[in-house]
Amino acid sequence: MKATDYQISKEKFVFCSTEGRLHDQKLETKPMSYLKDAFSRFKKNRASITATIIIAILVLFAVLVPIFSDYTVSYNDTYYRFVTPKSKVFSELGIPFWDGTTKKESTLQDFNFYYSMGVETGKNAIVDQKYTLIEKTNLIGRPTTWYKYRLDTYQSVGVVLMDFRAEQYQSIQDYQDRTGIQVIYPVTDPNKRPTSRQDINKVGNYWFETEEVNGKTTIVLDANGNYIPIYKSYSGDDDYYSIVRYEGNQYLYDYAIKNQTGYSVRVNYYEYYIYYHTEYLKDGITEPLFVFGTTNYGADILTCLSSGARLSLILAIVVSSINLFVGAIYGAIEGYYGGRIDLVMERIVDVLAAVPFMIVISLLKYHLTEVPQVIILFIAFFITGWIGMAGRTRMQFYRFKNQEYVLAARTLGANDRRIMFKHIFPNAIGTIITSVVLVIPGMIFSESQLTYLGIINLNTGNTTSVGTLLANGQPYLAQYPHMIFFPAVFISLLMLSFNLFGNGLRDAFNPSLRGTED
């Protein structure tokens, strides 16, 4: 049969539609953009969502705590050193956890020292004045009785002997009259105080009679087993200052001893601290309360940690965005042009990448002695940091540069720069964002490592770093683990959550995983 055999009359052809023009139907579903697709995949990953929340909390911690904290980084109080963490909730409920106390086992001497504080002022250094006796064998194998108790580190400073000028002394007395809180306690007789050198800082606490036995200050009790006070009895030399005018005061003792500069007075340090900060300095501190405890020189760990974290985060984010910028351009040029340019640029990268970070940082430190160390750290991170980014961008460019759509763009007359940054770069964006995120924890780790080792010192009064906190705490790890605990937990959480977040991003930006989990 030939084609001409079919005879179809013209009339049989009818227009199916004469109204308007026919189009392809518009897609009814919304187009899925790359980022949207990535985000939907990211949302399904529970680990990375958790990590994102943790990162958000840590960032808020780093940003908000230094603003709202009563303490500053430069704050320190030499009496409140090694104070353990205390949270108001736990201490008011009386739960023996996070309440500023520490478990202690000691011999009779130390126990008595702390026990006597509660007897004199009613502010118990030993929690509820409760203790248990335990048997221990000492170094030469003889059994000795030890005391086991919980020590309130906020009260264990006890009473401190301080010198005041006349108007300060007056001001404290006014505070006492107004609030009814006793700050000043009767002064002790200078001739009866213990003379041993080791007690030189604690002399204010000895309000009872002591004697020296084998070079150690030992308590002397009366026949009934009570403490024998060594208060200086009322002399009446200087009525205005030597007495404390509160109700029921019988003028039994002197409350101050006049010296060249003013008055030597015994004050309960906890109450004095409140007075000093609310009445004298008026710096917003209402009571000694260190949520994360204090360091070996009496700085507030919460404030130091959060501002160290802030510095670390700012440094990491700024450096990684600069590295992203430089590395991407460098890698793009390498990958796009290839050939000899690539070869030369790769050799430069090879050399730079092989220089250990320690060498970079120490050479910079030697040469830039005048420059703040933050800047040195910044430069050092920059010198070695962009290399990884360049390598990754280069790989992506090698992958995409010979694809058809690039050829099409070139045929249409797009110049090199347009092809590189408009056509190829967006394809690499997923990998690049992921690597930026994964670089941040590494940078924070190196920063804390360098400050820990003391190669870089970021302490300038108003700033500190997590590594410095760790280094300060390490010698006291056995007795005061809280100094290490909080910085270590912080840095571990930060690194873990950034790694999880970065891994989540990597999976999210990988379109080949689309639909695999459904």
Binding site: D350, V351, A354, V355, P356, M358, I359, S362, L363, K365, Y366, H367, P441, F445, S448, Q449, Y452, L453, G454, I455, L470, Q474, L477, A478, P481, I484, A488, I491, S492, M495, L496, F498, N499, L500, N503
Partner: protein
């Protein structure tokens, strides 16, 4: 023959990179004024005269020529200046004395980490997507993120202070194979192994799962091997190809990265020496140790590449 050429090429590149870094380092160090830091009562002039006699105040190119000549002919890397302990001692001798603790700690930690890490990785891969795998993978994720010094603090606090199993810091002295010395090394060894174990486990798991799903495993099963036989004869062997170079790389990089651990446990090793050299501006020590660490980094990467070629014939042949 190809392999030989490849090694030569890599070695050449490595020597070139190493020389460039060391020359830059040398010039940058020599541009600095010489610091002589002596205690009160000690005479700085003696040291200064000695440095003058050794030509430390000559023009830099002359100094570089002399420096290289001394190293090549006499193995003389200079003398200690500012570190009071090692003043006037040849830095090379001090370095050699400090090397054994660092190396030993790394060897021990590798001995612990390699079997445990690989075993965990294999176990996780065989139990893929079961609870054992999830447990291992999750803990690997956690342990790989936590910085090494946090382990060190944990080990020191729990094992040394609370349980009192080990001394807090490593003992001094040179009797490296005594039992008490070994015990005192253990905390640092354990702290170092944590990170390595997780890295080995993760890597092994990734490699083995990939191999287990490949076609030849199916073939091995179809030709009648049991699952166990197929795994041990075919899967494990192929998975070991990238694992072995990783062991070399890991060992060498740990050698260069144990500075913090060495400080925490006061290991009398190279890391501590490097730190004190940096902090006291003792430039001869700094140069030698910088050369050491640079060399380690370069050697690690080149050894990894070469061992790939030796172990896996496909890589060796395919590169032709």
């Amino acid at each position: 023959m190809y392999m030989f050429k490849y090694i030569l090429k890599r070695l050449g590149l490595m020597i070139m990179t190493f020389s460039i870094i060391m020359i830059m380092c040398f010039v940058l160090i020599k541009l600095l004024p010489i610091v002589i830091d002596v205690k009160i009562g000690e005479d700085a002039n003696i040291i200064r005269n000695q440095l003058i006699a050794r030509g430390y105040y000559d023009p830099i190119p002359v100094q570089f020529f002399n420096y290289m000549k001394r190293i090549v002919l006499d193995g003389d890397w200079g003398i200690g200046v500012n570190l009071a302990e090692y003043r006037n001692m040849p830095v090379w001798d001090v370095f050699v004395k400090k090397l054994p603790p660092t190396v030993l700690i790394n060897v021990y930690s590798s001995l612990i980490a390699v079997p445990i890490g690989i075993a965990l990785g294999i176990f996780a891969a065989l139990k893929k997507n079961k609870w054992q795998d999830h447990a291992i993978s999750t803990s690997v994720m956690i342990f790989i993120s936590v910085p090494s010094f946090v382990y060190a603090f944990l080990v020191q606090y729990l094992l040394c202070f609370k349980l009192q199993l080990f001394p807090t810091t490593m003992y001094g002295g040179y009797d490296y194979f005594a039992w008490s010395m070994f015990l005192s090394m253990l905390p640092s060894v354990i702290s170092l192994s944590f990170g390595s174990v997780t890295r080995y486990a993760r890597f092994t798991r990734a490699e083995l799962t990939e191999v287990l799903t490949s076609e030849f495993m199916l073939l091995a099963r179809t030709k009648g091997l049991t699952k166990k036989q197929a795994t041990t004869r075919h899967a494990l062997r192929n998975a070991m190809v990238p694992i072995f170079p990783m062991i070399i790389g890991e060992f060498i990089s740990v050698l260069g990265g144990s500075l913090v651990i060495e400080k925490i446990f006061s290991v009398p090793g190279v890391g501590g020496l490097y730190l004190s050299a940096i902090n006291s501006s003792d430039y001869d020590f700094f140069m030698l140790l910088s050369a050491f660490y640079t060399f380690i980094g370069l050697a690690a990467s080149i050894l990894i590449d070469i061992s790939y070629g030796f172990i896996d014939p496909r890589i060796r042949m395919g590169a032709k």
